[in-house]
C-alpha cells in the first residue's frame, strides 16, 4: 500500500486530501502544518510520497523540497499549491519535485499522479 505524508498549513486541505485518498486505498501515515515539522514526520514515518504545499509558515514548500533534494531523502514529492506560475513550477522541478498540481484540488488528477509515481 502506498504510504503518504501531507505537509500543508491548511487543516481544510489535509482533511480534503484524506477524504479523497483514503477510500481509494492510499494510506495517509502522517501530516504536518509546516516544512520543518514535515521533515520530522518524513524522517520518522519514511513515506513513499509527500504531498507538499508551497505557502507555509516557518519553512515553506520550496525550502522543504530543496532540503529533501539536497539531502537525497528517498521520497517522491508532489507539490500542491494555489499558485502555479511558470517560474514557480520551474524552481520546484529544479528541487526535484516530480509533479506540480494546482489548488483547488482535483480528485482524479491527484489520484492519477500518485498512481503514476508509485
Amino acid at each position: 500500500m502506498i504510504q503518504i505524508v501531507i505537509i500543508d498549513d491548511s487543516p481544510f486541505i489535509i482533511k480534503a486530501i484524506k477524504k479523497t485518498l483514503e477510500p481509494h486505498g492510499f494510506n495517509i501515515i502522517g501530516h504536518a502544518l509546516n516544512g520543518k515539522d514535515g521533515l520530522e514526520v518524513i524522517w520518522q514515518k519514511k513515506p513513499d510520497i509527500v504531498i507538499l504545499d508551497v505557502t507555509m509558515p516557518i519553512m515553506d514548500g520550496l525550502e522543504t523540497a530543496k532540503f529533501i533534494f539536497e539531502h537525497k531523502i528517498p521520497v517522491k514529492v508532489i507539490m500542491l499549491s494555489a499558485m502555479g506560475d511558470d517560474e514557480l513550477i520551474e524552481t520546484a522541478k529544479n528541487y526535484g519535485v516530480k509533479e506540480f498540481l494546482n489548488k483547488p484540488l482535483k480528485t482524479d488528477d491527484l489520484i492519477n499522479v500518485i498512481k503514476s509515481l508509485a
Partner: protein, 156 residues
C-alpha cells in the same frame, strides 16, 4: 506602478474570486459597488499577504452567515466547529489569491509575487487598515449574502 497595471492585477483577482467561488462552493456573486458595505455584527476577515516586486495584500471580509455558507459548501457537510469555518475560509482566500497571482506572474515575468500564509480575524465592529499601500481598490459582491474584497499593492 502604472494604474493600468494595478487595474489589470485587480481584474485578475476579481476574476479568480468569481471562478473559485463557483468551482469550490458553487456560489455565484455579482460585482455591485452600489451596495452599502455594512455587515452584521460579527465579521470575519482574512488577510493574505503578497511579497515580491509589488508587495501588497488581499483582504476578504464577510459576515458570519456568508462565512458559514462558503465553508459548508466547500466541505460538503454541516460544520459545527467555528475553527473549521475559519480555516476553510482562509483556504478559500488563499486559493483565489494564488490563482490570481499565477495569472499576474505569467503576464509580468520576474515579478515573483508570492503569498504569505493567511491571517484570520473575527470580531464585532471589526475595522482593519493596512498602511503603506499605494494602490487600493475595494470591491463589493452580493450573492446569497454580502462579501467585500479589498486589494492593495505597493509600487514598483
Amino acid at each position: 506602478m502604472k494604474s493600468e497595471k494595478f487595474e489589470y492585477m485587480c481584474k485578475c483577482m476579481i476574476d479568480s474570486f468569481l471562478k473559485i467561488a463557483k468551482e469550490m462552493a458553487d456560489l455565484k456573486f455579482n460585482l455591485n459597488n452600489n451596495l452599502d458595505p455594512v455587515f452584521n455584527i460579527k465579521k470575519t476577515a482574512i488577510i493574505v499577504g503578497i511579497v515580491g516586486a509589488n508587495p501588497g495584500r488581499i483582504q476578504l471580509e464577510t459576515n458570519e452567515t456568508m462565512s458559514q455558507t462558503i465553508a459548508e459548501k466547500m466541505n460538503g457537510e454541516t460544520l459545527n466547529n467555528p475553527l473549521e469555518v475559519y480555516f476553510s475560509l482562509a483556504e478559500f482566500a488563499n486559493i483565489f489569491s494564488g490563482n490570481g497571482l499565477t495569472v499576474i506572474n505569467n503576464q509580468f515575468p520576474g515579478s515573483q509575487l508570492r503569498l504569505t500564509p493567511p491571517s484570520i480575524f473575527v470580531g464585532e465592529s471589526l475595522e482593519l487598515t493596512t498602511p503603506n499601500i499605494e494602490h487600493a481598490k475595494s470591491v463589493l459582491f452580493d450573492g446569497e449574502d454580502l462579501l467585500r474584497i479589498d486589494i492593495g499593492f505597493k509600487g514598483e
